[in-house]
């Protein structure tokens, strides 16, 4: 029996009693801290608290990247003093001002997202420990640095499931502390809310890392596999002749039992299993090595949830957690689709049949006596969902609810439209529905068809239509043909980037010869077309950037084909390499994207990772050209993922809708005092170009996002070759999408070798004529002019303490 580390109790006069204590609150962390003392070099901030990163790192970031506050509304409705009018930065009755309140609002988004991933991690960790035991090793593929986010944050290097527990406990503790600050009369300074948000972002990547590594280790997901198999994707891939079991959400726990049941009963080719959102990605990863190619299908992103239900195809829907629509039960009921809630986080008010007899539950659901049920026992879930899908299929077929509406019905709906324009006003994507209806009345349905790709399936149009036209169904019916052809390919999520890949690309990234890492992540609330992510990915892949993706972004990248009928996943290799496209995995796999940048700092930069966030982040900000794109970010989790990237010095571009997060982090490119760092060799200040110009901002169109991201990959320490490669791409992309030379290109030039080779002479002339720089034309050299000096061995840092003289 292990020794008791905390607490006290006394027992008298007991005989033959065995006491088993599974866990003592706080003990795991204390034991871990004890163990950590024996470990190698440790940075200054293991197990940080709310204040730990504030002065040494967060405020440095927030000084350059100032919080840009764009309130959602002018009021605060938090407490019973109010509602208070905060317009023009007024203070409310409790004393908080508009800035502080909005800082709180954004912060609340971030901690909500963090909690989602952490809670998901806790659920999986407990579940998998129960089945596989604490000693299951974390076999994640070819990596020494298994858990970069956990290691940087806590100083721990867990090797087994059980050893993850301290990090899990720690995240939960800090989240409680963070949540407390939202209460009225707590934190009121905007800047401190932003510092806390950044801290929460770092915790989010720990929670995500835990979620993904435990499932990779225990459920045999691909282990850092660049050759992860291709998976069929899209509504068009579902075989309508088979019973269709449709799963929605983020937590793969329950789905594995359905897959096991299907295998045991030889049903894998008799029942269609497909999903939406991250559960879909993860079910294609389950026991992947034994199953290639996976038989499970990915229907698509969250935007397809209502669309797939309205299509009538699913015979049973199983939901777990996160990104699951709130109206699935009433929508499904209209088409006699039973809904099973399999996770205590979403129970939909349904009766709990966890302890009921399986046969009785199936009968109840089949008869329609109940619209759905909560089933939290995974063994039962596996059996009921698969059996029920088979039984519902003929019943629903006979009831005629497995097909979308008839042509006559469509015509009747279209004819009802009164052209009032209410739907246009309500549609978040601002789709011109009235115009499309007008053409449809004349028999031209192509306008309606065109709406399908951009429509996020939110139903806001239907809510305001006084003629009660089911507008979403109209759009989907009119798009029947293209939907049937909606088929793509995506790689099953590969998991981490392994160390050898980092070693071979690290130098190129630090030097800038591989121009950057482009991470395409996040949800489907796109402001223009969904195809934007495809165009962006293709542009960067063709230019030899490393492109990685996760979640719905990964799916949508695979939905489109080139003129040869090939998707991006078929055209480009799956490795973390120049010109490679990796699907890292589901949303929680985002931790491996920060993880890759962190590993560059740790492995390649030789920085201590353990308990050392500021130094790792400082390295990434100054040396690793990475930029995220969350083109359709809508969820709270997207805000916490992005904020986690930001604290690690990785900028992110979001779509226009994400301005509704109420805040951005943008630097003043014209304020020279913001563009200085130290040279770690001697502690002297050195001027740097204004790059990256932002940590978090939005773009209006995908065409604008492309050059913005190329520019954001420029880093202070690029060498000449790297700088000229990065400038070449940025300037070409600017020319292509925005037109002309960017106004500020010259600010990035330190000497002639930085200039793109093909245009060097032209650009030297411009420098002379337009900016008054002195050029030695014989040697084609810049003699004077640049504000930024450069020396290849300079070591830019924002941390004075890292300087030799300090």
């Amino acid at each position: 029996m292990s020794k008791l580390t905390t607490g006290s109790f006394s027992i008298e006069d007991l005989e033959s009693v065995q006491i088993t204590i599974n866990n003592i609150v706080g003990a795991a962390k204390e034991a871990a801290e004890e163990k950590a003392k024996e470990l190698g070099p440790m940075g200054p901030t293991p197990f940080p608290g709310l204040e730990t990163y504030r002065d040494d790192w967060n405020f440095k970031l927030l000084d350059r990247y100032e919080p840009v506050v764009t309130p959602m509304c002018d009021q605060c409705c938090y407490c019973t003093y109010g509602p208070c009018d905060l317009s023009n930065n007024k203070r409310g009755a409790c004393g908080i001002d508009m800035l502080g309140h909005n800082g709180r609002e954004f912060f609340l988004r971030v901690i909500t997202g963090t909690a989602c991933h952490a809670a998901h991690g806790r659920h999986l960790l407990d579940h998998l420990i129960e089945i596989f035991g604490e000693d299951l090793p974390l076999n994640l593929g070819l990596s020494d640095v298994l858990t970069p986010n956990i290691t940087i944050t806590t100083g721990q290097r867990p090797k087994t499931l059980g050893e993850i527990k301290p990090a899990m406990e720690y995240v939960e503790e800090q989240l409680t502390q963070l949540l407390a600050t939202v209460h009225a009369g707590q934190e009121s300074a905007e800047i401190d809310y932003d510092s806390k948000a950044l801290f929460s972002g770092s915790l989010d990547h720990v929670g995500m890392e835990i979620s993904d590594i435990v499932q990779i280790a225990a459920l045999d997901f691909p282990r850092a596999d660049p050759e992860a198999p291709l998976v069929e994707m899209g509504i068009g891939t579902i075989d309508k002749n088979k019973p269709f079991l449709c799963v929605i959400g983020h937590n793969v726990g329950g789905v594995t039992y359905m897959m096991d049941y299907m295998e045991e009963h030889e049903l894998t080719d008799k029942v269609e299993l497909g999903g939406l959102c991250c559960t879909a990605i993860d079910l294609t990863r389950y026991k992947e090595a034994d199953r290639r190619p996976p038989y499970a299908k990915v229907v698509g992103s969250m935007a397809k949830e209502l669309k797939i239900i309205r299509s009538g195809m699913p015979d049973v829907i199983v939901v777990d957690e996160q990104c699951v629509r709130g109206d699935i039960v009433p929508e499904a009921q209209k088409l006699k689709i039973p809904v099973i809630a399999s996770n205590a986080k979403i129970m939909y008010g349904l009766p709990n049949r966890t302890d009921a007899d399986v046969n009785e539950t199936i009968e109840e659901l089949k008869s329609g006596a109940i619209p759905g049920a909560v089933i939290l026992d995974y063994d039962k879930l596996g059996e009921i969902s698969v059996r029920l899908a088979q039984e519902m299929h003929p019943i629903r077929e006979a009831a005629g609810v497995r097909e979308i509406p008839s042509d006559e019905q469509l015509k009747a709906w279209v004819d009802k439209c009164a052209d009032c324009g209410s739907c246009y006003l309500a549609c978040p994507i601002e789709l011109d529905i009235p115009e499309a209806m007008k053409f449809a009345k004349q028999g031209d349905f192509s306008y309606l068809e065109n709406l399908h790709d951009s429509c996020i399936g939110c139903r806001r149009c239907e809510q305001v239509c006084k003629k009660e036209i089911p507008i979403l169904s109209v759009i989907e019916k009119a798009s029947q043909k293209i939907i049937a052809e909606e088929k793509g390919w995506m790689r099953a999520g590969r998991g981490q980037v392994f160390d050898a890949e980092i070693r071979s690309e690290g130098l190129n990234l630090v030097m800038g010869t591989t121009p950057g890492i482009i991470a395409i992540i996040g949800c489907p609330n796109y402001s223009d077309c969904a195809k934007g992510v495809y165009y962006i990915a293709e542009e960067f892949l063709k230019r030899n950037y490393i492109v990685v993706g996760t979640g719905c972004g990964s799916m949508d990248m695979g939905m489109y084909k080139d003129e040869n009928g090939q998707t991006l996943y078929e055209r480009f290799p799956g490795g973390f390499q120049s010109g490679g496209l990796s699907n890292i995995g589901s949303c929680v796999s985002n931790a491996h994207i920060t993880g890759a940048a962190q590993k560059v700092a740790g492995i390649f930069g030789g920085r201590t990772m353990d308990g050392n966030l500021a130094e790792i982040a400082d390295y990434v900000l100054n040396r690793v050209g990475a930029c995220g794109l969350a083109w359709g970010a809508f969820s709270q989790k997207a805000s916490s993922i992005g904020t986690g990237c930001n604290i690690y010095g990785i900028p992110a571009v979001l779509g226009a809708h994400s301005s509704k997060y109420r805040r951005a982090l943008i630097a003043k490119n014209y304020d020279e005092s913001k563009w200085k760092v130290y040279d770690a060799r001697n502690g002297e200040e050195m001027a740097i170009p204004p790059a990256p110009e932002f940590l978090l901002t939005t773009a209006e169109t995908w065409q604008e996002a492309v050059p913005m991201m190329a520019k954001a990959c420029i880093r202070p320490s690029d060498n000449n070759l790297g700088r000229s490669i990065k400038l070449t791409h940025w300037m070409e992309l600017h020319e292509k999408y925005i037109g002309g030379l960017p106004e500020d290109w010259w600010k990035f030039v330190r000497n002639e070798a930085d200039l793109p080779l093909a245009k060097r002479a032209d650009l030297l002339k411009k420098l002379e004529e337009e900016h008054g720089w002195e050029i030695d034309w014989k040697r084609k050299k810049i003699i004077s002019g640049p504000k930024i000096k450069f020396d290849v061995s300079a070591q830019p840092t924002n941390l004075k303490r890292l300087c030799k003289e300090a």
């Binding site: 009021q75 317009s87 309500a426 601002e430 226009a656 301005s659 509704k660 065409q703 913005m708």
Partner: protein
């Protein structure tokens, strides 16, 4: 004359309705009175009907253009002073009295906005509304509540007509 002040239904129900509905004549007057006006156009301007009108407004009023999104590409061969800037960045810089502006001559007192997604421009303007003195006038076809003044929700045809009236009045 098009009445651009009639339909001021909000596309979203939150916040305070602070935008005053204006007609083209009034907009022309405000532009002529402004010390440092800036025409801010979004990528929606790339439709020929709108691009021509934006060019005419800039030329007749003799004001520079901040071309956001990828709208700049439309102005390359036009005789106007158009510079690219990201809208979110512009919104932030407008709240800084020390911003040298797009031409190095200082910040702007009046911005005139055309062809944005309404939710995007409205959100960016919530920053300038609360944290700056800049006057924002929306001349798009949607009523923008966080602008200082705005056209109401009007049809595409009425919008073109209203822009023509504005051009004539300049």
């Amino acid at each position: 004359m098009v009445d651009t002040t009639k339909n001021t239904k909000l596309f979203t129900s939150y916040g305070v309705t602070s935008s005053k509905a204006v007609n083209p004549d009034m907009v022309a007057k405000i532009i002529s009175k402004a010390k440092r006006p800036l025409l801010v156009v979004g990528s929606g301007v790339l439709k020929p009907e709108l691009l021509d009108r934006a060019v005419k407004i800039a030329q007749k009023a003799n004001i520079p253009i901040a071309a956001t999104g990828h709208s700049h590409i439309g102005f390359l061969d036009k005789a106007v002073d158009a510079k690219y800037i990201n809208l979110h960045q512009l919104g932030f810089y407008l709240t800084d009295p020390n911003w040298p502006g797009l031409d190095g001559k200082g910040n702007y007192d009046t911005i005139i906005l055309l062809e944005f997604k309404k939710y995007y421009i409205n959100q960016v303007l919530s920053g300038t509304k609360n944290f700056s003195k800049v006057k924002a006038i929306s001349i798009g076809r949607d009523y923008i509540q966080n602008a200082t003044m705005s056209f109401g929700n009007i049809s595409r045809e009425d919008h073109y007509a209203a822009l023509d009236e504005l051009i004539n009045a300049l």
